[in-house]
């Protein structure tokens, strides 16, 4: 008897061990980075680096630009992707492969190609606007937004629910706003979160298009003050985590 229970326990132990190893893979660098950001000149540890964040001269400009890009990317992503992915689930399967292929492109197309392409095609007057970068972020976020919304709709049997709503007299707009969106909450949250994470982390595109966003700023600052740069990264990470937890919480409440 004891042998059986032990066997079951061993299997659980194995599972947890694997998880712990994977977690370690991330935790080690994180801990080390945090430790690094807390180092002070005199060899002790403290919050100096974090305090100096707020004193940086262009802090406000960078934050405002990043926020603006975030809002543009999130709103535009949802407006484009929610109806598109819903359509994929409602329509014939043949659309699916195509839309999935398109949505994967940003992982495949090197950012430099996108940037050069945009710069070549766009009217010069548009190039002065940071909003263009927001549009690019919508594209870059597509692999994530597509997957998040797609997974959300998978759980939903959206075809039946949409049919039911239409049968009850709802217009297409009512269907999208009153039926699909509220039940896709977790997918929408996921898409929002991933888009925000992208904007907070994207370096290549922003630096190629010469905008001073949060990530490029971190890199610039890092060249003069490594501790400050790492402190900024840790802070942005903490911010992203808070978002993740909030989303996961909202998601769980819905299901409870």
């Amino acid at each position: 008897m004891a042998a059986i229970v032990k066997r079951r326990k061993e299997r659980h132990l194995f599972a947890w061990l694997t998880l712990a190893l994977v977690a370690l893979y991330f935790l080690l660098p994180l801990v080390s980075a945090t430790e690094f950001s807390l180092r002070e000149n005199n060899g002790t540890h403290g919050l100096d680096a974090y305090r100096s964040i707020l004193q940086q001269p262009d802090f406000r400009d960078v934050i405002m630009l990043t926020l603006r890009l975030t809002v543009i990317s999130v709103v535009l992503s949802l407006v484009i992707m929610v109806p598109t992915v819903t359509m994929v689930h409602l329509g014939a399967k043949k659309y699916r492969r195509l839309v999935e292929f398109i949505s994967l492109q940003p992982l495949v197309i090197p950012p430099i190609v996108l940037v050069l392409g945009v710069v070549n095609v766009m009217p010069v007057s548009w190039l002065g606007s940071a909003d263009l970068l927001g549009f690019e972020y919508v594209v870059l976020a597509m692999p994530f937004t597509f997957r998040a919304l797609d997974a959300g709709l998978m759980n939903l049997d959206v075809k039946t629910i949409v049919d039911a709503a239409r049968g009850l007299g709802a217009s297409w707009l009512t269907v999208l706003v009153r039926v699909v969106a509220p039940n896709l909450k977790s997918g929408i949250f996921g898409a929002m979160f991933l888009t925000i994470a992208l904007v907070l982390g994207e370096f290549t595109m922003a630096s190629l298009m010469l905008w001073n966003t949060f990530p490029t700023w971190i890199a610039t600052v890092g060249q003069s003050d490594a501790a400050l740069s790492v402190a900024l990264s840790v802070a942005s990470l903490a911010f992203a985590w808070v978002l993740l937890v909030l989303i996961s919480f909202a998601d769980r409440r819905r299901k409870a």
Binding site: A165, G167, G169, A170, V179
Partner: protein, 363 residues
């Protein structure tokens, strides 16, 4: 709750999906207040017919007339239909009451009025207490009850039920089936019920339409379908049949289990001397002990299945094939597995089919 019922007419409906003809010139009339079940294997077009009537799909040609008005070109949201689906179609973010009230909300009924009506309807389907529950906290049977209440809430002209019971457990399935019928009669609503389960169709409907490959093969009272099937397909799809090989005799009869039987209406047209399959109902076979007589075909009982008042025996004939025999459980006690028996046809006519006719075993 009382209201005037609406008649429905489907005229020459045709719907193709690429090369597949889902519906091939369907004509069907539902009398006001009538419940018609469309019965058939998957892919026979029954669900297509229902979706066309709901407006969730458009026909290639043909007309849909409800209450005397041609609504063929009216979109789903403007037709006044109530629909229940096979899979659970409740809105997960709404409570039972809010689900039921959804159609009324779309119709801009005031909040107090629609909550009152939702409460009434939930009471009607026996879920008055569950009003504030969310769909994920309900059993399958409860969810389908709420879906039913939601469909009726808008006082639809026609109630459309698309295999509403197939995802449910056996026990709940029969209970809800009887309840749907009770409710349908009480509300007096014209209803189209689509199913692949012949027992379900026969049990619930005023008339049953048997469909096959986009065509309506027969539309009639359940008892008529069972006793006088119009086509071999109907004969083999409705009820259980023993398929017994035989040959057409010169006088037009066939020998089945040792007796000459007349060929029934609904049979394939076969020439004298041609090989045929006779379709014999399990309750149309009688058994006697082998030492008790010489009449009938010899066999051995291989197993018995108890169905309550009726017991079904599987008999292995000496020829090697198996037949099913239904008899009252009281009598079946005399025949346990291993008993040597004589099987005899207990009917005067029998449906026959071409032997090459595709067996309906399993599409």
């Amino acid at each position: 709750m009382e209201r005037t019922s609406t008649g429905v007419e489907l005229r020459n409906l045709r719907r193709t999906f690429g090369p597949v003809v889902a519906l091939d010139n369907l004509n069907l009339t539902l009398q006001p207040g009538e419940l018609i079940a469309l019965l058939g294997p998957s892919g026979c077009g029954k669900t297509t017919a229902l979706r066309l009537l709901a407006g969730l799909d458009q026909p290639d040609s043909g007309e849909i007339v409800v209450g005397g008005k041609d609504i063929t070109a009216v979109p789903a949201s403007k037709r006044n239909m109530g629909m229940v689906f096979q899979s659970y179609s409740l809105f997960p973010n709404l409570t039972a009451a809010e689900n039921v009230a959804f159609g009324l909300r779309v119709r801009r009924v005031s909040k107090s009025e629609r909550l009152k009506r939702a409460a009434e309807l939930l009471e009607l389907v026996g879920l008055g207490e569950q009003r504030d529950r969310y769909p994920h906290a309900m059993s399958g049977g409860q969810a389908q009850r709420v879906a039913l209440a939601r469909a009726i809430a808008v006082q639809p002209d026609v109630l459309l039920l698309d295999e509403p019971l197939s995802a449910l457990d056996a026990k709940v399935r029969t209970q809800l089936r009887d309840e749907i019928r009770r409710l349908q009669i009480e509300v007096g609503i014209t209803t189209l019920f689509v199913t692949h389960d012949q027992e379900e169709a026969m049990a619930i409907a005023d008339r049953v339409g048997v469909m096959r490959a986009g065509n309506l093969e027969q539309l009639d009272l359940p008892a008529v379908l069972y006793a006088r099937p119009a086509t071999p397909f109907v004969a083999s799809f409705v009820g259980t049949n023993n398929v017994l090989p035989t040959t057409v005799e010169p006088n037009g009869t066939v020998y089945v289990l040792g007796r000459a039987l007349a060929v029934a209406a609904g049979s394939d047209e076969l020439a004298v001397g041609q090989a045929a399959n006779a379709l014999l109902r399990p309750e149309s076979v009688s058994l006697g002990h082998r030492d008790g007589g010489t009449d009938g075909v010899a066999g051995v009982v291989s197993s018995t299945s108890f169905f309550g008042s009726v017991t079904r025996l599987t008999v292995k004939l000496d020829a090697g094939n198996f037949i099913l025999v239904d008899m009252p459980s009281v009598i079946a006690r005399d025949f346990s597995a291993g008993a040597e028996v004589l099987a005899r046809a207990m009917t005067n006519e029998v449906v026959i089919q071409h032997q090459e006719a595709v067996a309906l075993v399993d599409e």
